[in-house]
Structures are given as structure tokens and as C-alpha cells.
């Protein structure tokens, strides 16, 4: 090995150098992302729309765009609605995913068949799900046909044209697709449960339910926390399903943040307003993040303590 190369390598090996190696490209990338963010902040402070000349000539208006955004009922509702979708979809995904994983945790005939199949939905492009559902959900479509068969009488749920059911359809699409991910996460969690505490609990005469409630569930909490944070983060970004299924309708029942901002920015050309809304959203999200981080950190700490013991 040539001396120069050796010297370079041993320079890279030094802890103070080595530990920063991955940070250089990552920080570079983050800086690369930061510049458009600065542009976003700038745009939020001026009054620019695409139909009004070039952006660097737009007049400075200070907080006016923010005031406008807060007063924009559609925006406020889109935020509330999106959080609502997340609040409805995520617990369902967690519940279903957990329940299914619970049923699939032990070995039994057909387990492989089920676990393989249940992973399918997350592998399908959400846009495909949107189109697929637009065929399935029309009121005389296959889904209502099945429901009628099960109910033994004609059932016509207006999945995409009723104000409430359309929301349910969007939540349903999310649940259908992402329960698979939660299932996978929880199933892995079960697979990774340490056997000793469970054996100990059994030795102490705990019933199956007690073992589950007092031993397994607490041990699985960190896994559930991860699934919770992961899914709520993604659920705040719902875009494909409403765009491809309902166009945000009927009324504005399925207009999510992403859909509304797309409209304001591109269709209505009000880029500055969209920028202000984005920043407000960011504040909301950061608050949410702080809570999520709190949960994650608590779970991690708890885990570290358990590991130490």
C-alpha cells in the first residue's frame, strides 16, 4: 500500500474525522434542501402569484399572507380534516395490524400463506389503489354487491358521493393499504420478544391473558410507538387517494392539506399564500413532531433501562 494512501486512510480512521464522514454528504444534502426552504420563507413574505411577473420583483407584504392563511377557513378545515383522517386511520391500522399479527404469531397450518398475503397491499402503488377503488366503490359496484350478499338485502352505500362515506372511503383506502405495514412491524415485534420474561410469568402462574397484558404488551410498546409515529407521519400527507378517487369532494369532504395546497399553489397560482400556509403547517407539524419525539424518546429510554436490567 503506498504510503500516501496509507496516511490518508489512517487520517480518515481518526475518530474525530471518521465520525463526521457520513455527516458531510448528509449535511450537504440538507443544505441543498434548505435553500428552497429559504425561498419558501421569502415567497411567504412577499405577494407573488404566478400570473404576476417574476417572483423577485414581488412586493414585500410581511405577515399579511399568514393572516390570510389563518383566516382561510378552507385551509384551517383542510388541516383539521387531515389530522382527523390520521386520527381515524392510524388507530384502525394499529388495531387491525396488531390483531392480525396476534393471530399469526404462533405456528399453525397456513400461517405462511396468510402472512405472505397480508403484506401485499403495501406493495401496491397508492395511485393504483386510487383507481382500483374508483371501480370498486361506485354504488352499484363490486363492494356494494358483496355487502348486499352478506346482508342478504340490497345495500347501497354511496362510498364516493356521500359526504361522510367519502371520508370513510379515504380512511378505508389508507387502512387497507397500510394495515399491512403495521402487521409486519408488530409481527416482527412478536418474533423478537425475549422468551425469559414470558417463561417467568408462566411459571408464576399467569394466565395467557395476563401474560399478554402485563408482559408482552409492555414489551411491545416501543414497536407500537414506532408504528404509530411512522403511520401518523405518512397519514398527514394523504394526496393520491383523494386526487384519484374524489377530487377532494363531495363538497370539500376529502380535501386534505396536500390537495388544498396543490390547488392554491398551482391551480389558483397563489404561490405566496401557499408558501405561508406551508409554513404554518410546518409549525403545526413541528409541534406534532415534538410530541412524537417525546413518545419515541420515552420508549427508547425505557428500552435502554430494560436492556440494562
Amino acid at each position: 500500500m503506498p504510503a500516501a494512501r496509507r496516511a490518508a486512510l489512517s487520517w480518515l480512521e481518526r475518530e474525530q474525522v471518521f465520525k463526521w464522514l457520513p455527516f458531510v454528504p448528509v449535511q450537504a444534502l440538507l443544505v441543498f434542501l434548505l435553500l428552497p426552504f429559504v425561498l419558501l420563507v421569502y415567497l411567504s413574505l412577499v405577494s407573488w402569484r404566478i400570473t404576476r411577473g417574476v417572483w423577485w420583483h414581488a412586493p414585500f407584504v410581511g405577515a399579511a399572507n399568514f393572516a390570510g392563511a389563518v383566516q382561510d377557513e378552507r385551509f384551517v378545515w383542510a388541516v383539521i380534516r387531515t389530522f382527523g383522517f390520521a386520527a381515524a386511520a392510524v388507530p384502525l391500522e394499529l388495531g387491525l395490524g396488531f390483531g392480525l399479527a396476534l393471530l399469526c404469531r404462533e405456528r399453525f397450518r397456513g400461517r405462511r400463506f396468510y402472512t405472505t398475503l397480508f403484506l401485499l397491499p403495501m406493495m401496491i402503488v397508492p395511485a393504483v389503489v386510487g383507481y382500483d377503488l374508483s371501480m370498486l366503490l361506485i354504488d352499484q359496484g363490486p363492494l356494494n354487491q358483496i355487502l348486499s350478499l352478506l346482508a342478504g338485502r340490497p345495500v347501497t352505500v354511496r362510498w364516493i358521493s356521500d359526504y361522510r362515506m367519502a371520508k370513510a372511503a379515504i380512511v378505508g383506502a389508507d387502512v387497507w393499504q397500510w394495515t399491512s405495514l403495521v402487521f409486519l412491524i408488530v409481527l416482527s415485534g412478536f418474533a423478537g420478544l425475549p422468551p425469559d420474561p414470558i417463561r417467568a410469568a408462566r411459571a408464576m402462574g399467569a394466565s395467557r391473558w395476563q401474560i399478554f397484558r402485563y408482559v408482552e404488551l409492555p414489551l411491545l410498546k416501543p414497536v407500537l410507538a414506532i408504528a404509530l409515529v411512522l403511520r401518523s407521519m405518512e397519514a398527514l400527507k394523504i394526496f393520491d387517494y383523494p386526487v384519484l378517487l374524489t377530487e377532494g369532494g363531495p363538497g370539500n369532504s376529502t380535501e386534505t392539506i396536500a390537495v388544498y395546497l396543490w390547488r392554491v399553489g398551482w391551480d389558483f397560482t397563489r404561490v405566496s399564500d401557499a408558501a405561508a400556509m406551508s409554513l404554518i403547517l410546518m409549525v403545526v407539524v413541528v409541534m406534532y413532531t415534538v410530541i412524537a419525539i417525546h413518545i419515541l424518546r420515552r420508549e427508547r429510554r425505557q428500552l435502554a433501562e430494560e436492556a440494562a436490567r
Binding site: 428552497p36 403495501m122 359496484g141 409481527l187 415485534g189 414497536v223 400527507k237 394526496f239 399553489g265 403547517l281
Partner: protein
């Protein structure tokens, strides 16, 4: 004995119900992809194609126009399929490499401070629409609009938080004594990574790769904004297949859906062994 039979019965009943829920939309996609256009939307719905056809697949897979040869591929799925594969794979690979290196550095040396991974997580929380407009302006000035590099860069950035988070848990599961041992035995830090850390976190790497691959493979909004003619991904292409008499071209769309699902499913099955291990996020000690 009777009780056990009952448990098995209930278990299979519930699991079969969810199997049906899972399979019906997938089946409907496949079913539609083999139907002639007249059967896509019918009252009542047709559960089997009356005259199964491959024309939808032919339509999306055959390059060139059927009537006039324009010397290029239009409305076809091969190019978007390739573009999607390329962008999703490249971005997932780079993101996994960078993200896991960063996670390693943070886990072992606490580089960047206590809150670093948490703050990186914020990137992922923002809906991509938030950055779409400034990104467009930015990309135009950097000549990154409508390029592979541009799309891959933004996908790397948006996947990094997940990679860091998933890999962090994994790396923390590798006892640091193993690394010390290797170093004392003469391994360089890079050799430690390749001989010890990498083999021990391979399930995590694989699962993480699949996860961000799926996310990038499916991404619609940024792709729609940041590409024009040179790059076109599967989700954008789905949007394109619309025809006059039937509005949405359900058949070809279903065919694209089936084709687009296939690589991911294949990938998923290939690495199924790693998946269950990988997605535990290393949170529980074995």
C-alpha cells in the same frame, strides 16, 4: 380438545376474512386488466372477464403507435417502468448507504448531538407539496428539472429520515464489543463496518431498502411537479391513461398496476426472510 378446535376455527375465520379484504381489490385489478373496455365498468359488475384478453397488456407494453410510427414510445409503460425502477432503486440505495452510515456515527459517537435524528425526522413529516413550488424554481436554476439526478436527489432527501431511524435501532443492537474486538485484532474502522456491522445489520438494511424503495416507487406529487418529458414514473403514467369513451382507461391502468406491483412483490418475496426480522426495528433484544 374441543376448545382448541374452536380457537383454530375462529382464527381461520378472521384471517380468511382479512384475506378477502386484502385480495378483492387486488383481484379486481387483475380481473380488469384482462377485460375488454366494455366490461370495465358494468352494472352489475362482472367478476370474471367474459372474453379474457391480453390487449391491455399489449397496449401498455408495445412500443410505438399502432397507426403511425412516430419513432418513439408514447403512452407506453416500458420507459416509465424503467425510470421508476432506476430512480427508486438509486435513491433507495444512496439513502440507505448514507442514512445507515449516519445512524452508525450517531449511535457510536453521538455525532451531531442528542437531537439530531429527531430533527431529521421533521423533514419527513412535511407533505411534499410544501416544497413543490420553491423546488421547481430551484431546480430550474440548477438545471435539475426533468432529470434523473433531480428526482433521485429529492427522493434521497425525503427517505433519509426513515433510513436513519430504522437503521439506528438496528445498529444499536450490534454489541460494540464486537467492533472493539475486530479493531484490536487489526481491522480498520472501514473493515469493521464491512466485516462486522454490515453482516449483522443486513436484515435491517434489506427491510429499510424495501421500505424506502416502496415509498419512492409510489411517489406521485413530486414526480408530477419535477418531471416533464425526459423522466416519467409509473404513478405519473397511471394518470395518463385516460380515454374518451371510457374516460379512465381502466384496463390499461389495471395492467400498469399489475406490472407496477410485480417488481415490488417479487422483491418482497425474495427478501421475506429479512423482512420480519428487519421490521422489528431492532427494538427488542433477541
Amino acid at each position: 380438545m374441543k376448545r382448541r378446535w374452536l380457537v383454530a376455527f375462529v382464527r381461520h375465520a378472521i384471517l380468511l376474512a382479512w384475506t378477502a379484504v386484502t385480495l378483492i381489490p387486488v383481484y379486481w385489478m387483475l380481473n380488469t386488466s384482462f377485460k375488454h373496455s366494455g366490461e370495465w365498468v358494468t352494472w352489475p359488475p362482472h367478476w370474471f372477464p367474459e372474453q379474457p384478453t391480453l390487449e391491455n397488456y399489449a397496449q401498455v407494453l408495445t412500443p410505438g403507435s399502432t397507426i403511425f410510427e412516430l419513432g418513439r414510445q408514447t403512452l407506453k409503460v416500458l420507459k416509465p417502468l424503467w425510470d421508476s425502477l432506476f430512480t427508486a432503486t438509486a435513491s433507495a440505495l444512496v439513502a440507505v448507504a448514507l442514512g445507515s452510515a449516519l445512524a452508525y456515527s450517531w449511535a457510536r459517537f453521538g455525532t451531531g448531538g442528542k437531537n439530531y435524528p429527531y430533527s431529521v425526522l421533521t423533514i419527513r413529516m412535511l407533505p411534499p407539496i410544501v416544497i413543490a413550488v420553491p423546488f421547481l424554481v430551484y431546480y430550474v436554476s440548477l438545471h435539475l428539472l426533468d432529470t434523473y439526478a433531480g428526482l433521485i436527489l429529492v427522493y434521497i432527501a425525503t427517505s433519509l429520515p426513515y433510513v436513519i431511524w430504522m437503521m439506528l435501532a438496528f445498529i444499536e443492537d450490534v454489541p460494540s464489543e464486537l467492533e472493539s474486538a475486530a479493531r484490536v485484532m487489526g481491522a480498520s474502522r472501514f473493515r469493521v463496518l464491512s466485516s462486522v456491522v454490515l453482516p449483522l445489520t443486513v436484515s435491517g438494511l434489506v427491510a429499510t431498502f424495501l421500505f424506502v424503495f416502496i415509498l419512492n416507487w409510489s411517489e406521485l406529487l413530486l414526480a408530477l411537479t419535477l418531471t416533464n418529458t425526459q423522466v416519467s414514473t409509473i404513478p405519473i403514467t397511471l394518470n395518463k391513461f385516460q380515454s374518451v369513451n371510457e374516460g379512465r382507461d381502466y384496463g390499461p391502468q389495471a395492467a400498469i398496476g399489475a406490472i407496477a406491483t410485480l417488481p415490488v412483490v417479487a422483491l418482497g418475496f425474495l427478501i421475506q426472510k429479512h423482512l420480519v426480522k428487519g421490521f422489528s426495528f431492532g427494538l427488542l433484544r433477541k
